[in-house]
């Protein structure tokens, strides 16, 4: 450690905004007492990207954010921002700024003085800092409220103030801890769009912690899906949604059905699997595993066709009983209880109303071979984890 810091290149803070906002976590572990909040995390977030850390409560996503911010010190491992190893440095030296979940606006200061706080700490003169704070408030369209106190603002306005207060530090990296969770649905969608365009405009790295899948998919260039203290998959939203690597990611992102079976036969890049209850699945795979190997697959909910019927004779189909139907406007979510699992089909409203099914009906769900995706990990959690089920 010492050798590394002494040989590191001299740090220049002259133009922090021109420095790289790439974040690199190398073998980062954080322990609280005897339990691990995160364990051996390796992650590179490219400069200027919008990264979402996604996972259920207690998965360690906020701990990672706080370690990048400097509000938590890792038990072991290294964190780099640009070329600097930042562990042990205060936030301002790291070039990070954090927006807190509750915004943490200082209740005793006006909006203008809240935004000017950073400049006041740097001993910038009163006129100068008020002028610059007003510029920043104008940027978030709140200059007309500059003399209000935080308690007098709506949630959306408070969030803009918090943004302005963070951005006045001219950060390389903006860290957002569940920034949209305190807002109502309408405002959340509006602010979501504003965050995205703000990031485009500034070109700095945004790291955004959320437990909402649609939020991550809508915003992120890079989605990091976390399970208890580990990263399960880090990739673009498109890949995470369509090609999840693990059953956990497939289930957590919603939108996917996870199926398991053992390899029966293979011909070329085509393999056949047999599930525990005898259904036959077919999929394409680069290198066919040996016969008898257990394997898990995922099929997108909206790539499934439904018909009435009692037995799934054909390949790539599964039979079951309709447990629930939920109208979603453009599609209908049909939940089917199969022999030992739950299978969900999102049927387009047109197809659904052409041949309507109801609770208790026997149905067969089927899909095409091209729509099957092979998971890199075998599902060990069949039938369970419906509480992880995400968006539609």
């Amino acid at each position: 450690m010492n050798a590394m810091t002494t040989t590191a290149a001299p740090v220049s803070n002259a133009h922090p905004h021109q420095e790289s906002g790439e974040i690199r976590l190398v073998g980062v572990t954080k322990q609280f007492g005897s339990s691990y909040a995160v364990q051996n995390i390796n992650l590179t977030i490219p400069h200027g990207s919008y990264c979402c850390l996604l996972g259920p409560s207690g998965c360690g996503k906020t701990t990672i954010l706080r370690m990048i911010a400097g509000h938590e010190t890792p038990t072991s491992g290294e964190i780099y921002i640009g070329d600097d190893m930042v562990v042990g440095k205060p936030p301002v030296e790291r070039g990070t700024a954090m927006m807190f979940q509750s915004y943490a606006l200082f209740p005793h200061l006006s909006i203008l003085d809240n935004v000017a706080f950073y400049l006041k700490m740097r001993k910038v003169g009163k006129d100068e800092r008020r002028r610059r704070a007003l510029e920043m408030l104008t940027r978030v369209q709140l200059d007309h409220l500059k003399d209000r106190m935080p308690a007098q603002l709506s949630g959306g306005q408070q969030q803009r103030v918090a943004l302005a207060r963070s951005l006045i530090t001219n950060p390389k990296v903006l860290l957002l801890d569940e920034p949209l969770s305190a807002l109502d649905e309408f405002l959340r969608l509006k602010m979501r769009g504003e965050l995205k365009s703000l990031q485009d405009e500034l070109g700095i790295t945004f790291v955004h912690v959320t437990h909402t899948q649609p939020e991550a998919i809508a915003l992120a260039d890079m989605v990091v899906v976390m399970d208890t203290g580990r990263i399960d998959q880090a990739d673009t939203a498109n890949v995470i949604f369509n090609k999840p690597t693990t059953p956990y990611v497939a289930r957590f992102m919603g939108g996917q059905n996870v199926l398991s079976g053992t390899v029966e036969s293979s011909s070329g890049d085509l393999i056949r699997l047999k599930s525990a209850d005898g259904a036959i699945f077919e999929t394409k795979i680069d290198s066919a595993p040996a016969t008898g190997t257990p394997l898990s697959l995922s099929v997108r909910r909206d790539h499934v066709a439904l018909r009435r019927g009692t037995s799934a004779e054909e390949v790539n189909s599964i039979a079951g009983t309709v447990e629930a139907t939920e109208y979603q406007g453009s599609f209908v979510k049909v939940t089917i209880r199969t022999a030992n699992d739950i299978f969900v089909a999102n049927v387009s409203d047109r197809a659904y109303f052409a041949e309507q099914v109801d609770t208790g009906d026997k149905v067969v769900a089927s899909w095409s071979t091209d729509d099957v995706h092979v998971l890199s990990k075998v599902d060990t959690d069949a039938g369970g984890d419906s509480h992880l089920e995400g968006g539609h």
Partner: protein
Amino acid sequence: MAASNPSYGPRPWTFYVLALLFTLFVIFLYGPMIAVLVLSFQGPSASLVFPLRDPSLMWFDELFNPRRTGDVVGAFNRSLPLAVIVMFLTVLISVTAGFAFRRRFKGATALFYTAIASLIVPGLVLSIGTLVTFRYLGWSATWYTSGLGAHLSWALPFGLLIMFAVLGRLSPSYEEAAYDLGASKWQTVKEVVVPIVFPGMIAVALFGFTLSYDEFPRSWLTVGSKNTLPLEIWTMTTNVTSPALYALGTVTTIISFLVIALALSSIILIQRKRSRGK
């Protein structure tokens, strides 16, 4: 027809019972104070009971230019500085201890109960204990040594309890936000934490002041040969049989009210500033 006239119901009988109870409570609370206030303007008849005859200010004059009463001005000149010192020390110690207790440390609970336990020790016993200890150590008891210590043993636990409640509601994210924006530890305390908990500090100051200013049992043997105000009043009730006693009651009550009014108005002022903007 009956259905078209909705009845919102008469007040239940419990309302009247509780209203009566509350009225009695208020009378008992303020009645004696008003009686003393009125009788302090008693005329030269020097009667200690109603009715009030020939209202005058003569007993206030008697109070400040004593001929027959005790050393009221001297007692006041000890009580006021003592209350102010207790007030400052209570605020200082409660606030710093409150911050220490925000971080969990070994023995925190035991220490907390040790600090609070002095509330249940009878004041007179504590007074005797303090005097005996001072005698044993060969120190003389005065209001600014043993008296101060005895008063702090009373005011500090209250201050601590208030500060714990105030700091318990202070989200750590304010301090983190300040750190995030480049504030040093000292700047965080000065610019963020103290302004936010200031109303709580005023409440602690108020308790510190009034608990000391009014304290009798813990002053009894600890202030030495020279009395504080409550002791002086008590002495007067046994020696002095003139309405000067009432005049003294009026003056001390007014001073207490002034202190409370000062504290409350500063809290209201701060809160108004926060909610309505400058």
